[in-house]
């Protein structure tokens, strides 16, 4: 069970400012149902550039709902200029802290605020222009770099806690490490104990597997009257079908493991597992 502060519990059980402002001056939508949390923030801004009202609708866990509720409370009566400087840490602190695995809920609140302000001012959000690093949760490099800088993050796990990046399939872990190193290099007082490691994207991996099969494996098998076809690549699992004299051949398993798998491991990725399509 999560250890939530009384403040989090209070804002979760009796959230403030639930709903949508009609004819809102700014609307910010972040997250999606696939990600497991989403927030729609609507704000009203008066002629003195003061936020007079804020409402939210949130799909998510207790800390997502509490963060949204707290954010709207903080915003009401705040100058737009001050709201621009509000960070995720401000939201988390107002709640008396959040469990570290739940920090991304406060980040979501801040991002919704930025989106709502951008909608009001008509300025395009720079964060959305970055390059998507985590495809599972749609997180860009700019968002990650900012989270690293503002919260002094030093590990991939912390990046995941704050931005969710890397929390899905984990394929972007290598890139996250690179961003840690690159960002840390810009922050001289910080030491980060991570090594640069080049990781393949899944597209690169599939291409490379195909290439090795076509160039080396297929010609060899054909010499023995056999053939091979790539069926699927799912993570480290490579499914192939063996045809011709290879199929059903007593030693096809040996061919698969001792030859095909060995070749692919040597030339593509050490962790590949080759299986036959049945």
């Amino acid at each position: 069970m999560w250890e939530y502060t009384d403040k989090v519990q209070e804002h979760f059980i009796n959230p403030k400012n639930v709903g949508e402002i009609e004819n809102a001056d700014g609307v910010g939508n972040v997250g999606s149902i696939a990600c497991g949390d989403a927030l729609r923030l609507t704000i009203k801004v008066d002629e003195n550039q003061i936020i007079t009202d804020a409402k939210f609708k949130t799909f998510g866990c207790a800390s997502a709902i509490a963060s949204s509720s707290m954010l709207t409370e903080m915003l009401k009566g705040m100058k737009l200029e001050d709201a621009k400087n509000l960070t995720n840490d401000d939201i988390a602190r107002a709640l008396g802290g959040l469990p570290k695995e739940k920090m991304h809920c406060s980040v979501m609140g801040r991002e919704a605020l930025e989106a709502a302000i951008a909608d009001y001012t008509g300025v395009i959000l720079p964060m959305a222009q970055g390059e998507v690093v985590c495809e599972c949760f749609g997180v860009t490099d700019l968002e990650i770099i900012r989270a690293i800088k503002e919260n002094s993050l030093t590990s991939v796990e912390e990046i995941t806690n704050f931005t969710k990046a890397g929390g899905g399939c984990g394929k972007c872990e290598g890139r996250l490490r690179e961003l840690l190193v690159e960002t840390a290099e810009g922050l001289p007082e910080q030491t980060v104990g991570v090594k640069k490691q080049k990781r393949m994207t899944s597209l690169e991996k599939i291409k490379k597997i195909e290439e090795v099969i076509e160039r080396e494996i297929k010609p060899t098998l054909k010499k023995d009257g056999g053939d091979i076809r790539l069926i699927d690549v799912d993570g480290d699992f490579v499914t192939v079908s063996l045809r011709g004299s290879c199929a059903g051949c007593h030693s096809s398993r040996t061919t698969l493991k001792e030859y095909v798998e060995k070749k692919l491991r040597e030339q593509v990725l050490e962790s590949l597992i080759v299986e036959e399509d049945k």
Binding site: I33, A38, K57, T58, A62, A64, G168, I273, K278
Partner: protein, 396 residues
């Protein structure tokens, strides 16, 4: 009778169960006066050995096994690891394990990492499940190879309660000369099991799922099945599991098995009726509520229901306000960012997977408790949906 304000309504029995009062009574002497070591030569220790023997008989009776086929372990996870690793060591020339995508982490994580601790020698095939959580037997047959050392398939799924046809699968496996293990942690005590009539080689069970304490498990090892111990040490358990016996818990488990045998009918009639009432009530009173898992081929105590467009942890914490205990397959409850691997393997859409709640009942639940939950749930779901940005736009 009604549910009093401070009463805990416990519907999370697939997570753990209360220790039956009869079980605790049976254990107490072995935590107090009868502290002897069952391996000792003196009468004082010897009488403790007799209690262990009796418990072994009671466990065997519930499973339709012989006492010498029962090995006491520390938990279900130890039993699972022992069985699978024994098979791998028995067949160093083989290289393949067959399992499913919906196993408990005790089996799933072991099989996911087989490559690493067998020096890349072994790998696993993880069978897909259908949308209702059931297995395709033809695909299972096709997955078996001459290199397969062991098949490990759970008897009943912990999240959905879906029952797999392990008796038939064991028979098919046996014909191919392959060992068969089943993680029956959720099945034992809830549905009748008679191992004598099956070809199952290994079966794991866990005490705390059937009203015995935590920290006691069993591995059934069929007579004649090759076996290599996981914990090496003394001669306890006839050399199959080193370590001084957890006597009090073993005695408790024996008692729990005897109780489970006596209450098997109640589990499958009264508890099933309560579950059905709860399930039907929730599905009819709450719109966009869906049942996860096969409606019939299922444990009598489990109902896994998704409430679309709301998130599971938020539901659980509102239930907690009323002292109602259940579980969720949502991402947020596990600390991971992705919803349950079981629901994902079944292809449950994200709109529903994040809002899944598992209710698991026991013989200690009452109709008043079911009525109480049925009374509270609609308002909880409605409140969360009112603040969900997806609810209105999908239900205009």
């Amino acid at each position: 009778m009604t549910v009093s304000p401070d009463q805990v309504v416990y519907m999370d029995n697939n997570a753990t169960t209360r220790v039956a009062p009869e079980v605790l009574d049976a254990m107490m002497p072995y935590l107090t006066e009868l502290y002897g070591n069952p391996s000792s030569m003196h009468t004082f220790g010897g009488q403790v050995g007799q209690a262990v023997s009796q418990a072994r008989q009671e466990v065997a009776d519930l499973l339709g096994a012989s006492p010498e086929e029962i090995v006491f372990t520390s938990c279900g996870t130890e039993s699972d690891s022992t069985a699978i690793l024994s098979a791998i060591q028995t067949y160093p020339e083989k290289n393949h394990v067959v399992t499913t995508r919906v196993e408990h982490p005790a089996v799933k994580n072991l099989c996911d990492n087989l490559e690493i601790f067998t020096g890349r020698k072994y790998h696993s095939t993880r069978l897909h499940v259908e949308a209702d959580g059931t297995l395709d037997l033809q695909r299972f047959k096709d997955s078996l190879t001459d290199e397969t050392a062991i098949v490990s398939v759970m008897w009943a799924n912990n999240e959905t309660g879906v029952i797999f046809p392990v008796e038939e699968m064991a028979r098919i496996t046996k014909e191919r000369g392959i060992l068969f293990h089943t993680d029956a942690v959720q099945a034992v005590g809830k549905i009748p099991i008679n191992l004598k009539e099956t070809a199952i080689d290994f079966l794991s069970l866990s005490g705390h799922k059937l009203h015995a304490p935590k920290g006691i498990g069993v591995l059934y090892v069929r007579k004649g099945t090759p076996f290599i111990p996981f914990l090496n040490g003394g001669h306890q358990e006839r050399g199959r599991r080193g370590g001084t016996e957890n006597v009090a818990s073993i005695v408790g488990l024996g008692k729990a098995c005897a109780l489970a045998a006596a209450k098997m009918d109640e589990e499958n009639t009264r508890v099933r009726a309560l579950r059905d009432k709860l399930e039907k009530g929730l599905l009819t009173s709450i719109p966009k509520a869906l049942l996860n898992g096969h409606p019939e081929q299922r444990l009598p105590n489990t109902a896994n229901i998704s409430f679309e467009y709301v998130e599971g942890e938020a539901i659980l914490l509102h239930m907690n306000q009323h002292n109602i205990c259940a579980s969720s397959g949502s991402a947020c409850t596990s600390g991971s960012l992705e919803p349950s691997h079981v629901l994902r393997a079944m292809g449950v859409p994200f709109t529903a997977a994040h809002g899944s709640i598992r209710f698991s009942l026991s013989i200690y639940n009452t109709e008043e408790e079911v009525d109480f939950v049925l009374e509270k749930m609609p308002a909880i779901i409605a409140k969360l949906r009112a603040m969900s940005p997806f609810w209105e736009e999908n239900n205009k």
